[in-house]
């Protein structure tokens, strides 16, 4: 079990998250653990705990949070928000954290998976337009058979305005940038130092290897 050093903590991290405008006041956290108790991911994943992530945030453990797998595990089911006695908007904090992590180059593999939807949407202004022609025909047939228009179509005006928004906000460059810069590997796992029962053996071998 590695000792954590206070010299690795800095208040900058929390400030950066708060400046994103999504986390209003995480200082309200009382560490009651209600979020972890109700979290569906924590119920399955031994190393994931919302309370722990907020704690790391408050102490300012920049490296450990950003370069960990944990922040990418959240389902965004907002159970924690619904149950939190301090009304901390944890899902929004998670959103901010993930964007912040992307800025620092980690976790890109989880974001680049979805860039095809963004490109689809740029083309059609609809997210889930099927790519394969036979699937498209299938959907068209189904929609026609139940008395709807064959395919939901966005007007040319709408598409044009939507594309314009892409250009104004620089989304395409943002995407290119996401693909171009190098990914920083996720190097930290919260598994060390926690009560883990399931993958205990694996954890132990990790420990022996000094991970």
């Amino acid at each position: 079990m590695k000792r954590e050093k206070a010299s690795n903590w800095s208040p900058e991290f929390q400030r950066a998250i708060e400046e994103s405008g999504l986390a209003d006041d995480i200082n309200r956290c009382m560490f009651c653990g209600k979020c972890t108790g109700i979290c569906p991911v924590a119920a399955i994943n031994p190393s994931y705990s919302p309370r722990q992530i907020i704690r790391e945030l408050l102490l300012g453990n920049h490296e450990q949070v950003l370069h960990s797998e944990e922040i990418w595990r959240c389902f965004w089911c907002a159970n924690c928000l619904g149950y939190c006695p301090s009304d901390i908007k944890y899902p929004l904090i998670m959103l901010a954290l993930r964007y912040y992590a992307l800025e620092h180059g980690s976790g890109k593999k989880y974001a680049t998976l979805f860039t095809r939807f963004v490109k689809n949407a740029y083309k059609d202004a609809v997210t889930f337009q099927p790519g394969k022609p036979q699937r498209l025909d299938q959907i068209k047939a189904m929609r026609t058979s139940i008395g709807l228009v064959p395919l939901r179509i966005v007007s040319d005006k709408g598409k044009e305005e939507y594309r314009k928004l892409y250009e104004i906000t620089g989304t395409l460059e943002w995407l290119d940038n996401l693909h171009a810069t190098e990914e920083v590997p996720l190097k930290f796992s919260f598994e060390t130092g926690k009560l883990i029962l399931g993958d205990f053996k694996e954890n132990r071998s990790n420990l022996e290897r000094g991970v």
């Binding site: 079990m1 590695k2 000792r3 924590a42 119920a43 399955i44 994943n45 031994p46 060390t192 130092g193 009560l195 883990i196 029962l197 399931g198 205990f200 053996k201 954890n203 132990r204 420990l207």
Partner: protein
């Protein structure tokens, strides 16, 4: 991960009986971990060990590194505000782990066995023999040559063959192994 909590823990009963402690007084303050000398080699902190005992997690406890990495420095015991004898708890856990039929012998168990075997045979340990038999048994390399020479030069390791003890000592050991029942009776 959701873990079950049991009100009656057989592990706790066993440890409390063996180590003569009351684990219910633990208030999970973490003072033991704060002072612990060997924490960096452990997988669970002493505080977590006590919680695991209360949660009746036999498998985790008996396979954990912590119980073997504890060096019995008694710092935790000295600082514990609940007066729990944590070193005794660790001793009890080691004893339980050793007596488990499923327990896989690790380096520490090998060492303890060899050490006690030597004491039984010679009345004391013979460092040179112990070191060699240990590296054979646990399949670990011998200490570096530099260190061995240094030990020999400073007479830290005895070069002489171990002396054999008389019949009286062997008899005592035999009696002790039988539980000392009819000793002096």
């Amino acid at each position: 991960m959701t873990m079950g909590q049991t009100a009656i823990s057989s592990m706790q009963t066993e440890v409390e009986r063996k180590a003569n402690v009351n684990l219910d007084t633990c208030m999970q303050c973490g003072c033991c971990t704060g002072g612990c000398s060997g924490i960096e080699a452990m997988d669970f902190s002493p505080r977590q060990i006590i919680q695991l005992i209360k949660m009746d997690e036999w498998a985790v406890l008996l396979n954990s590194r912590t119980i073997w990495m504890c060096v019995s420095c008694h710092i935790c015991e000295d600082r514990c505000p609940a007066r729990i004898k944590i070193s005794s708890v660790m001793d009890a856990l080691r004893a339980i782990a050793y007596s488990q039929p499923t327990a896989e012998p690790n380096k520490q168990i090998h060492f303890h066995n060899l050490f006690l075997g030597q004491v039984k045979t010679f009345g004391r340990t013979h460092e040179g023999l112990l070191m060699m038999s240990y590296s054979l048994k646990a399949k670990t390399p011998l200490p570096p040559m530099r260190l061995i020479i240094d030990y020999l030069r400073r007479l830290r390791v005895d070069m002489k063959p171990p002396h054999m003890l008389g019949k009286a000592y062997r008899f005592t050991i035999k009696k002790a192994q039988e539980g000392g029942k009819d000793h002096g009776a």
